[in-house]
């Protein structure tokens, strides 16, 4: 156990020294395995450790189940290029825009809708900020409210299916990805409602932050609803396919996550192409960016697998389980401690790296305590996504800043506080009432 803790400390030091997370975890993992196999000074102990690394590189990148990762990333980028974000925003606007803070409410709803077809919170923030913030500025919204509503609601991208982070959690813990996707729906909808509550709170305290916009007629609302048919269709195919909604004669169709990812990516491509938003150059850019992002994620997966192998060989999970059962800590207290650890580490790590670093250690403990692995997956995603809004790292905030250019990170961080509180309430609800996660399963 001591060697695993030393290894963990080494990973943290290397990461702070700007070593890429994948390399830090992989390097320490290989040294750790060598240590467990005969000692660091024994040359022969490096052979199994490096062979493990080589095997992991070859096997991870050729794992059929992992093909969902590039395909979901590709789908998200096609959707971003396809300009569907504008229609989604318009839909929220025609229904809610006339309320005080209505455009921010519309932003939250549109981010939720966009999350249903895009698997990443960063992509959601980058896409929605360019659509929603200029519109909110036109109506005199406070930059703190407009930017914070996008940055916060963007986190839904990692929770509302399809979600790349949930896919990776599923692969890492051998939990059903289909079940994880279904389980993400209710907490995602609760997230939308709580964020809407946060917007209402902001305009209640400071009515000038979100002046009301124009009221729209029902014919306009009907047209807006029809304009998002592509989003609804894609979401219906993805979730319906996974949930077995088409499993009746003569169709008899139930899709695996890999199949859904392929259909989703191809569908998103056809939508973007059909809308005339995809030139050959755009197509190359989308494919290139998806490939590069996937390569980065695969590197982290390989690094995490090596670190995980070391941690398991060193017996850290068993030791933690022994510690928890030895002290006879109530399971809820253990989860609360984990939540605090995640919130603290979330200030430093972006969500995926944090998940990959901690899940191999915490997962056996959680399972030993009798928690549902699907519930834990949703808990981890919600708690790590809070870190995407927390200074100093807060990736969503920086992506929004990079996307807009003229909004400072300090402005967003100041505006995000009510949304952060909403997130903490949602997290507490998920911990105390696991049924909100498991209700659809």
């Amino acid at each position: 156990m001591v060697s695993a803790l030393v290894g963990l400390a080494c990973v943290l030091v290397m990461v702070f020294l700007r070593v890429p997370i994948a390399f830090a975890m992989g390097f320490v993992g290989v040294l750790g395995v060598a240590h467990q196999r005969g000692g660091l000074l024994e040359t022969s102990s490096y052979v199994p450790a490096i062979t493990l690394a080589a095997r992991q590189i070859a096997d991870t990148t050729q794992d059929y189940g992992l093909s969902v990762i590039p395909l979901f990333i590709l789908m998200g980028l096609f959707i971003s290029k396809g300009g569907l974000s504008r229609e989604l925003y318009n839909l929220g606007n025609v229904f809610l825009g006339h309320l005080r803070g209505g455009l921010a409410l519309a932003t939250v709803v549109a981010c939720g809708g966009f999350s249903a077809i895009c698997g990443s919170s960063l992509a959601t923030v980058a896409t929605m900020s360019r659509v929603a913030i200029p519109e909110m500025r036109r109506f005199g919204y406070d930059d703190r409210l407009s930017s914070a509503s996008v940055a916060s609601a963007g986190t839904l991208g990692a929770l509302i299916p399809p979600s790349v982070v949930l896919v990776i959690y599923g692969i890492l813990t051998e939990t059903s990805i289909g079940k994880l996707f279904i389980a993400g729906i209710v907490p995602g909808v609760i997230g939308i409602l709580f964020y809407m509550g946060a917007v209402r709170w902001v305009v209640l305290v400071n009515p000038e932050a979100g002046p009301p916009g124009e009221r729209h007629g029902w014919s306009e609302r009907g047209r807006a609803l029809l304009s998002v048919w592509a989003v609804l269709l894609l979401f219906f195919i993805i979730i319906g396919g996974l949930y077995g909604a088409f499993d009746f004669p003569p169709l008899n169709l139930t899709f695996s996550p890999t199949e859904v990812a392929g259909i989703g990516a191809a569908g998103a491509f056809l939508i973007a192409f059909g809308r005339g938003r995809l030139s050959l150059r755009d197509l190359f850019e989308v494919l290139r960016d998806s490939a590069r992002t996937s390569a980065g994620l695969f590197m982290i997966l390989i690094g995490a697998a090596l670190f995980s192998a070391f941690v398991n060989l060193a017996g850290l999970p068993e030791a933690l389980v022994g510690l928890v059962t030895g002290y006879d800590l109530p399971p809820l207290v253990v989860i609360a401690i984990m939540a605090v650890i995640y919130l603290l580490l979330g200030c430093v790590f972006e969500s995926l790296s944090l998940l990959l670093l901690t899940v191999p250690i915490f997962f056996p403990v959680v399972v030993a305590l009798g928690f549902d692995p699907v519930w834990f997956g949703i808990f981890v995603v919600v708690v790590t996504e809070i870190g995407m809004l927390t200074p100093p790292i807060g990736m969503n905030v920086f992506v929004l800043q990079a996307s807009m250019g003229d909004i400072s990170a300090a402005t967003v961080f100041r505006g995000v506080t009510p949304f952060w509180v909403a997130d903490l309430i949602r997290l507490t609800l998920i911990i105390l009432v696991p049924g909100v996660v498991l209700i659809l399963l």
Binding site: V19, I50, A291, S294, A295, M299, I300
Partner: protein
């Protein structure tokens, strides 16, 4: 000479990314066709699984040199302001690149052993009979290229910072 070298590097990067892009597009099309045929005609594309595996390796490893060469691997840059203030940023970045590049040669050497083993055993894929050593060999070469590119980036950052910026 330097200009020619940069153009060559640019050309190689574009070619590799084009291969990765085509691989990804093929992966998407293959999965879509396989699912559609299985669902509608009850006839799947039999070599789909092995082609998917090969295409994934192609996508990841053809983009890896570009990812590392551009320094786009996921990092924590919390201490960057401190490193800049202490004028250590370039030194730190160069050393990290050198470290990552050298570390990549570890598994690359071992991968080569696996390549030779796969060739000696005559391992092939199930349907298309594609020799496994070709796939493993391509992975090993890509890891070596990525390691070389990362080391070159580190050397440039440390000793020729004006070139590294280009």
């Amino acid at each position: 000479m330097a200009r020619f070298l940069w153009r060559l590097i640019d050309g190689v990067e574009t070619a590799l990314l084009l291969i990765a892009s085509l691989g990804l597009f093929a992966l998407m099309t293959l999965t879509f066709i396989d699912v559609s045929m299985r669902s509608v005609l009850n006839a799947s594309v039999q070599p789909a699984t092995e082609l998917t595996r090969i295409l994934m390796a192609l996508v990841v490893f053809a983009s890896l040199p570009s990812l590392m060469g551009r320094g786009e691997a996921i990092i924590v840059d919390l201490l960057d302001p401190l490193a800049r203030r202490l004028r250590l940023a370039r030194f730190q970045q160069g050393l990290v690149d050198l470290f990552c590049g050298i570390v990549l040669f570890w598994p690359a050497r071992r991968l080569w052993v696996l390549v030779e083993r796969a060739r000696d055993h005559g391992e092939v894929t199930e349907f298309l009979q594609i020799p496994q050593y070709l796939v493993l060999g391509a992975i090993a070469c890509a890891v070596v290229i990525t390691g070389t590119v990362t080391i070159a980036r580190g050397v440039l950052t440390l000793f020729f910072p004006h070139l590294a910026k280009e």
